[in-house]
Amino acid sequence: MATRRVRFTFEGDAVKEPVIYLVGHEFDVVTNIRMADVEHDFGWVVLELDGDHDEIDRALSWVEAKGVRIDPVAGDVVES
């Protein structure tokens, strides 16, 4: 089992989709929202994902394919 802390950023139509619900429905991954701020055409959600390491990877790839940006909770860590 693994735990991953990530930040989803939604823009445009992606805001309307129940992406986080579907992650829990389609994959063997437990989602736990910790912080969020969602407006009509933009939003971000910080959440924890629990599950098998590979299953979390599959879920995140699926989320990304939905047009949702995924980042580590600490933001970009690659600096100049």
């Binding site: 912080m35 971000w44 940006r69 100049s80």
Partner: protein
Amino acid sequence: MTYATCLACRECGREFPLEPLHVCDFCFGPLEVAYDHDGIQSKISRERIESGPRSIWRYIDLLPADEDFIVDLNVGWTPLIKADRLAERLGMRELWIKNDTCNPSWSFKDRVVAVAASRARQMGFKTLACASTGNLANSVSAHAARAGMEAIVFIPHDLEAGKVLGSAIYNPTIVSVNGSYDDVNRLCSELADNRQWAFVNINVRPYYAEGSRTLAYEVAEQLGWRAPRQVVAPMASGSLFTKIHKGFQEFQRYGLIDETPIRMIGAQAEGCSPITTAWRNDTTNIRPVKPDTIAKSLAIGNPADGYYALKTMKRTDGGSTAVTDPEVVEGIRMLAECEGVFAETAGGVTIAGLRQAIETEQLDPDESTVAFITGGGLKTADAVVEHVTQPIPVEGTLQSFEDAFAEAPQAVGVGG
């Protein structure tokens, strides 16, 4: 003895021990070092600081590291120069340049890495790590070498060889990640959770960030124990910007300088300006961007401290700027031609941002202002190589020289 007492969440205030943690377990907010302010207050004085070493370690009472564990490369105490010629060019009355190109690995990153490396050593780490495209990797590699620690540096696979050299010379392990910038981000975030390595800007980030405050301490001391009325600083993650303000506030709190208002103005390149865009749209919701600018050292599309940078601007009646790549080059040239300081592209952003802040009336040209130059120009020489003075070719005879010199174009300034 350090006066650091714990890590505290910047969002919910929950406290955690001084361990390699960076995110609050409850709300996932960022953690920050908290201090015993009464203890500091009872000990600190101008005289005590002035009798310390000519480096950031003169402020050790305010840093989260014990003296026995310091990794010392003589970082800091860089020049603060009065920039009268540049001030005249920009129509300003009092302008100062904090020249952090003079650090051991030629950028301000030495300040943050020195603190992170010292704390990491205190916590028992044997390895320093980072993900970087330049300055940070240089500094981590240099500090690890100095401390006798291992260094592991992660770089994107397509990084130019010249940028790798500044780290490679210190003999770290360099891992070239075959993937996108985002892939490197994710890999290193995962590794920081799984390995016994001190990733300086991930699992020991709270300590790392504290090093930036020394920029404000030095400026206040070098100005004769006073704060400037206005500050212009570059913004990548936004951490440097917020910590400079915090540094001045702390000196005010401890009575080392008077409590005068300080207007904080941030500078970004247009090709990566998520913080300035949020400022202009009057929102604290930062939309991540894909960076596209020559100012690579500021190219953080999803800035971790952007929200706090915006709050700092708001609180200080400050502002935010975004400048084009040609303006960045012009800024570098202006600083070099007027003051003899060769800055990397981030410095060009700062100077061009300073000019934009004046033009947009976000900054008062009659008030004392400090502009922070955070890295040396040879790091980004390719950005300006086609924009500088070209040699006049002559034969080795007087006549050849006279003929060529008579026809040579007059030296041309960069305008403005």
